[in-house]
Structures are given as C-alpha cells and as structure tokens.
Point group: C2
Chain length 507, copies 2
C-alpha cells in the first residue's frame, strides 16, 4: 500500500475549509459541555485515554509517515523518530497524570484546641476548562494535534480544541482520526477533543476570544504567539496563554575547553546547526567566543564543515523564503563576514546551511544580529576578552536554552558569568548541544520572555500539565465527599504533604 | 511612652512625598543591582531574613499599633491579631523557604547506554527579579509592607520594592524601618528592600512599566488590579502580575442543613458579615437559599442580628463613601428589600451593617446585584428551588471562596451542583464562614478571574512563593558547580523527585 495512492494532496487540500465563526462557537459549546463531565474523570481514566491515543497513533503506521513527508518535506527517519517521541510523550504524561505529583496535594489537618480553631484545609487542582491548542509547523506530531500541549491539557482534565497547522492539514486530520478512535474505544465523549482548520487568522482569533475558552497552548513564531497573548489579555476575562516563541540559544565557548577539542566541537555544532534543516526552536543561532587563533581555527573548521553539508528541503515555501531573506539580511549587516556556506540549491524550498561571524562590538551595537534566523544558520560572535563576553551575555533577551562549552575550572572561575547566563534561559547545557529536548520530568522547555509568554511553566515534561490546572482548597469538608486524592485514606496512593511533610501515608 | 507624643499625624503626612519618576528609576537600578547578589543567597539566609524581619516587626511594639490605629480606624485587638498573623506568616514562609518544597526539584539521571544517550537533567527554580509590591489598605500589616507578597518574594530570592498604601504611610514607614534594621542586623544589602510612597497613579505606573521590574504583587480593587495587569501586559517585555481583586464569596444554604440550626447560622453570618466592618476580601456578600418559611425565618433572624450590631469606623473616608454609595445603590434596585439595617451613624467614616434580600429571578436579570459591595453588607437571594439555585451558582464569576451550608446527604444528592460551585472558586468551605484565611501550605487564596488575574497561584501559604520563581534545568552539569539543591549528595536534605520518585536520598 502506497499512501500516495490513497491521498491526492491537492484534491485533499481543496476539501480543507476554514471553520466559520459559527463553527467555532458551536465547537466551544460542545467542548464546554464535554468538559463538565471530563473534568471529573479519575486520573487513571485520563491516563488510559492518553495511552489509547498513543496506540492509535502508532496504528496509523507508514500511511501517516508518507502523508506527513509529502506535507512537510521532513525525512522518513526524522518523522518516525518524532512519532516515537510523541508516543513516548503520551505514555509518559499518562504516567505523570496518574502519579498525581502535578496535583501538588497538601493537607493541613485541624487543631480544634487552638483559639480560634484551626480548620482542616486540603488542596488539590482542578482543570481550567476548554483549552485551545495551536499546532506547530515544525513538529507535525510532537507539537501538533496529539502533541505535548494536547496531552498535558487532557491529563489536567481539560477538553481540547486543536486548530490544525495549515502546513500539514492532512496529517492533522489523520491524527484527529486516531484520537477519535481512541475516544470511541473507551466510550468517551467525542467532544473531549475537537479538531478544526483555519488558515486565516480569524479562526484563531475567534477561538482565543471565545468566552468559553479558558487557556491557550502555542508553539511557533514570536508574532503568532504575541497575537494570541494580546487577544487573550484583552478579553473581558483574560486567560493564560503559554506560547513558546523560539529562541537564538546562545552557545558560550570558554577558551580552555575549546582548546581541548576544537575540531570535535566544530563537528558537533555543524551537525546541531543543520539538524532538521535548522528548524528546531533550540537551534544554536549564536556562538560566542573569545577572539584569537583558537577561535579563528574553530570558525574555519565550522565553516568548512557547514559548506560540506547539503541544503535540505525546508517545511514549506513560506519558511524557506523567510530563511533566505533573514539569513541574507544578517550576512549583509556591517562587518558580518560569511565563514562557510553550503552550495545554494536553486529552488524555492531548500535552506542553505550558513555560518557567519562578527566582532562583539558590532554585535552589541546592532540588535538585528541577536534575532532568530529560523533555519540552518548560526552567527559566531568574537569577543575581545571574557569581560566583553560577559557584556554579550548580559545583552541577551530571554532564551529557551544557553550552552556553556567550558572546563570545570573555567566554570569555577567565572561564576558570576555563569549566573548571568543562567538568568537568561530555561535550560543550561554543559558541553553539549541545545538541540534534542529530552522528555522527562526534570526538563524545562520554556524561558524568560520572549522565549515564552510565561517563564514559570514548561511545555515539555510532566510539569507541562501544570499550565492547565489551578489549585482549589477544601475547608472542613467531609471525607466521603472529598476528591479521592484528598481523602484521609489516600486511595490513589499518591505523594502528598500532610502537615508540611511529604508522605504517602493515610492521614 | 505614648506614641501620639512621638508622631504628629498631620505634620508627618505633610512630609510624605510621592516618589518622582527619577526616584523610581533609581530604585529599580538599585534593586536590580542588589538582586544579582541576593538571588544567589542560600535558602537559610533568606529564611533568616524573614525571621529577623518578624522579630523587628514585633519589636515595634505598641507604638506601631497606636500609629496604625490612628491611620486605619482598625481596633487594637484586630491590629494586634493582624500583626501576630504577619509575624506568623514571615516565620512560616521562612520555614517553607528553607524546606525547599517550592523549588519542586526534579532530577532525571543519565542513561549513557541509550541511543542517543539520555542526558542528566536537573531542575530547580530561580527568582524572577525585582518584584513591585502594592500595599493594601485593609491589611496594613499582613498584606502591606512586610506582608505576604513581600515575604514570598524575598523567600523566592527576589528583591522587593514596596509602594506604600497612601492610607497608612506612617505605618508603612515604621515597618520599613523594621525591615531596614533586619537587613542591617544581618549585614545584608539595604537595597534588597526599597520603600516608596505614591498617592498618584503615576508612581505605580512607572514602577510596573519599568524595564527592570520582573513581577508585581497586589491586593486591592478590581480597577486597581486591572490597571496594573494591563500596564504589565502592554510592556515590551510582559511580566506576571498576581492581583487579588476581591470577591462576593457566595454562601449556599441547603435546606436540610439550614433547618438543623437556622439561628446558629444567622448568628454566625451576622458576625462574619460585620467582622472588621466587613472589610475583608472574603466577606460573605451573597447568601443563596431556597424560598419558603425556613429561609424567611433565617432572613428575619439575620436581619435582627445585623440591626443590633453597631456601625464601625471604616478604613478611611473614601472607602466609607464608596460603601454608602454602593450599598444604597444595591438596595435601591428593583425588588430588593432591606432585611435588616443597623442604626446609621451620622458621620463620614462609619459603615452601617446592612442585609437585603431579593428573588433569584431578579438577581439573575440584574448583573449589578452580583457585584462586590466592600463593607458590612450582604444580599440574600431566594431561589424557587434547587434548580434555580444551580442557575444562580452557574451565573457566578470567579470567586476567592464559596461556602456550602449542607448536610452530608445534601452534598451527596447534589454532586453536580457542588462541582459547579467548586469550578467558580479557589476555596470551598463546608458549614463555616469564608472570613478567616488560615496561613498554611494547603491554603488557596486565589481563584478564577475576576477574583485574581491568575487562578494558578495563591497569595497565602507557602506556595505563594511560587509566583515569583521560574524553573531552570541544568543539563549534564558538573556536580560541584550545581546549585546545592541539585547536587548528588542532597546537602540541603530537601525532598526531590529522582527519576520520578520522591525521596530525600542522595543520587
């Protein structure tokens, strides 16, 4: 079975229509209606839903991969990897959901002897309500229809409305099919998950502004994220938006460490910069070092390696054009010099790997040079000395990641600099590359503005669930009618703080 | 020593000047400068600071109480209680700070065998930066200068700039003195805490809009909170605002429970409505019951009890005038009937206890009737039946609290209604009163908009610290250079999740 026989892309796309405002309204009514029941499901029911979605996503098999390849130009290997990651994510958030740590249950028991009597107070979390999720273009599985935002909202007990990314509508429809099947298998309300298309901004705007929408998840551009953020805050009832809006992910080369293995790091970074045609939000777009022979050698090696990597097809023409424009704009700046460029491919879709370099003084004077160029591009900034490198670090806006290439001694000798760098990012990597975001509880995929709209949350790892829930305290409630996680006997066997001490024991 | 000899109120107030824009700018520069060092203090140093502030606050003795009485019209008993609570709060947040649960440390260790190798990822929290705190008028100690927002921001590792509430500037100055003394005793930078006055909105606006401000804490009116929220979101770099903006705190009377003790509840609510001249954000402003003889009797008893409670002095003339206006406006509405009114006092400062009643149909048709009347006022809404009571519950906006007066059987028989009520509030009280916010970890003092600007946080209890910190992950870092809470050996002996399991053990 060859999926291109099953799907004629252009015919299919012709049939994709933007939702109307009436359909948005109807969707929110249905979602809110489903929410009133879904909000009360047990953790294990939500976990079962996530695990069943994972099974159904897997069951889409090669057909899905072929369709997504045709829509995104991503390679089969990459897409199979991304689907495996998405399945892992669904299963891992199911585990987190069921473990219940994200509920942050705390119980303070009564003291009737005290004057006035101390009440019995028990805190758990409730879901916020219907969540609107915007699929991303660069992660058609992991950050789209059944991706991290959907999984964490469902785990929190929220119903979800996904606006499919217009760059991969067929993929989104197929994944929607898998979710529908999962809901049906479990006899759950199909309105727990609603799917719609909207290439125009009107659909997104109507979704975010609808009174029944209670939160928004987004991964994409700064412009897109800020539009949602402003709509959400301008509502009569403002709602939280978690928008992950990308980053330049600065890499700081400390001289002693670089000296140990210049070629190794050049190789590692040539690969990281061009991984997935540079279309990762954690792509290393800035490399900051100290000028001298060593850095020159590194730049030369990196330039040679980049020149040897072929241009790859980008997600779609819009992104390829933006990359051409922005990378050209960057290298056209005063005192910016190309250090290595792959052979241009004369088509409208490829992204040419490109590394440039500039001195720190020029960099600090030109804000355009610290802007993200989405694609296989990186700028090496040569600082006079470690003080100027510190000045460059201080000038950074909020980042998803920062990376230190440094020896133990260098870290020890530059603790203030390390603190400055940490203060600007959500994740700090030592002697590695920023690409590759491990799905685990300790992961922080977030960071100070403009990396995200709220640095206090993450969109990767079990804690992503916390974006979509709020605490509620029950005071002097009857044990029988408390939610299970708050009952004396701890029937869910979850970790709780009882009178300020972590325990799984009964009260 | 009689404090009125020490402080001549009018002379003193003459000397209170609004900060200039230059002073605001200077304050933020100093605060940000102090932050770079304070952010790196150990948890126990921050805890020591909070405990020392508590000692110095206590040491202000009767002199402080007398000054605050003269500024706020609050009674000596109330103010002594509030100071004790504030001292408890400082000590309790010190404990929370040191216990480190709020850091939500999680560690996922490496798996070098996996392909690709699984990195070592460890997550803790960093403080956001300088926090601007707006003192409240109704809690001159507990939610002002050294109050809950200040304590939680300092615990998080943030420096603080307090804008004193213009209704009690001398109190604020004295408390500032105590904090200065605490910082001096501990040889800490005095710029960790900066105090300024600003009766005009310009000072507040400049503080919130300053680029170096990283978060805002506020307790006060809806109008005030929304002004800060909009300024904060309109910045080039939006920042989080936690504004607690009050609530009507609906109380639902279920018939069977009311029947057991109508007089007891009438007494309890007459006291709760008039406690502190009704100037609590958890004041029960709406009481919802089912029409009939039983409710009539309750209304009559409540009315009689309210009529027998004398008018008390309110915080200041502005608040007293607003109360007169708003309570009159409420009782002047179509079909609203006064059920009990205390004897009016013919002065510009007193608040007359007042209870009114209306039928649910009228209530549902008139949005003005669900608005907060700040002061000793409550409106009893009579519903046709439990279905209409559910309709009233569904019509509610977000609340800090909701209260159920209900038997076990009634709760059991109306679970959907209970869920509706819970979905609208931050705290759900059974058979008690909403006034009295216990300071404990399990407390949730927050709630859906418009009770607060972010339902996912609390301003009371140790979790209040979480408003002012953000997660940061360290990937493949060297143990020696990790923050203490992330080190293998767990030198702080705090609770952490290691590979998804809670433990205090070393890695």
């Amino acid at each position: 079975m060859h999926p291109s026989h099953l799907f004629n892309k252009s015919d299919f796309i012709m049939s994709i229509k933007d939702a109307t405002i009436q359909e948005v309204d109807q969707a929110l009514l249905q979602s809110n209606n489903a929410f009133s029941k879904y909000a009360q499901t047990a953790l294990k029911e939500r976990a079962a839903l996530l695990r069943t979605i994972a099974v159904e996503l897997d069951a889409l098999g090669d057909a899905l991969i072929q369709v997504t390849m045709s829509e995104t130009n991503l390679t089969e290997v990459r897409l199979k990897g991304e689907r495996a990651r998405t399945i892992f994510q669904l299963n891992s958030y199911a585990d987190s959901c069921e473990r219940g740590d994200w509920l942050e249950v705390s119980i303070n028991t009564t003291d009737a002897q005290r004057v006035p009597p101390k009440p019995d107070v028990r805190k758990t979390k409730l879901p916020l309500g219907p969540v609107v999720v915007f699929g991303s273009s660069n992660f058609p599985f992991a950050y789209s229809t059944a991706g991290g935002d959907t999984a964490s909202a469902l785990a929190a007990g929220c119903t979800v409305i996904v606006k499919a990314h217009p760059a991969h509508p067929m993929t989104s429809n197929m994944v929607h099919g898998a979710i529908k099947k999962a809901l049906k298998n479990l006899n759950m309300d199909e309105d727990i998950f609603i799917h719609m298309h909207g290439a125009s901004t009107q659909v997104g705007e109507a979704l975010v502004k609808h009174a029944l929408t209670k939160a928004v998840g987004f991964t994409g551009s700064f412009q897109g994220g800020m539009a949602l953020f402003n709509w959400a805050n301008g509502r009569t009832e403002p709602i939280p938006v978690f928008a992950e809006m990308g980053s330049v992910n600065p890499v700081y080369l400390f001289p002693e460490k670089l000296k140990e293995q210049p070629e190794f790091f050049a190789q590692q970074y040539a690969e990281s910069i061009t991984l997935g045609v540079g279309q990762f939000c954690t792509n290393p777009g800035l490399i900051i070092g100290v000028e001298g022979e060593l850095l020159d050698a590194f730049i030369r090696m990196l330039g040679e390696k980049i020149a040897a990597i072929s241009a790859g097809k980008m997600l779609h023409e819009g992104i390829a054009n933006a990359y051409k424009l922005k990378s050209k704009e960057a290298v056209d700046q005063y005192r910016v010099r190309v250090a290595g460029r792959s052979k241009d491919v004369d088509d409208s879709i490829s992204g040419t790997p490109l590394v440039a370099t500039v001195d720190a003084e020029t960099f600090l004077a030109n804000p355009l040079l610290s802007e993200e160029v989405f694609g296989p591009f990186s700028l090496v900034v040569a600082c006079r000395d470690m003080n100027q490198l510190h000045a460059v670090a201080s000038s950074m806006k909020g980042q998803l990641t920062s990376t230190l290439i440094a020896t133990e001694t260098e870290l020890h000798d530059h603790q203030t600099l390390v603190h400055t760098i940490a203060s600007k990012c959500g994740r700090l990597i030592l002697n590695g590359v920023p690409t590759g975001v491990e799905v685990c509880l300790a992961m922080q995929h977030g960071g100070p503005f403009p990396a995200t709209t709220d640095a206090r949350f993450t969109s990767v790892g079990g804690d992503a669930i916390k974006r979509f829930a709020r605490p509620v305290a029950y005071q002097n409630f009857s044990n029988a009618l408390l939610p299970d996680e708050l009952k004396n006997e701890n029937p869910l066997k979850i970790w709780r703080t009882v009178n300020d001490v972590f325990t799984k024991d009964a009260v």
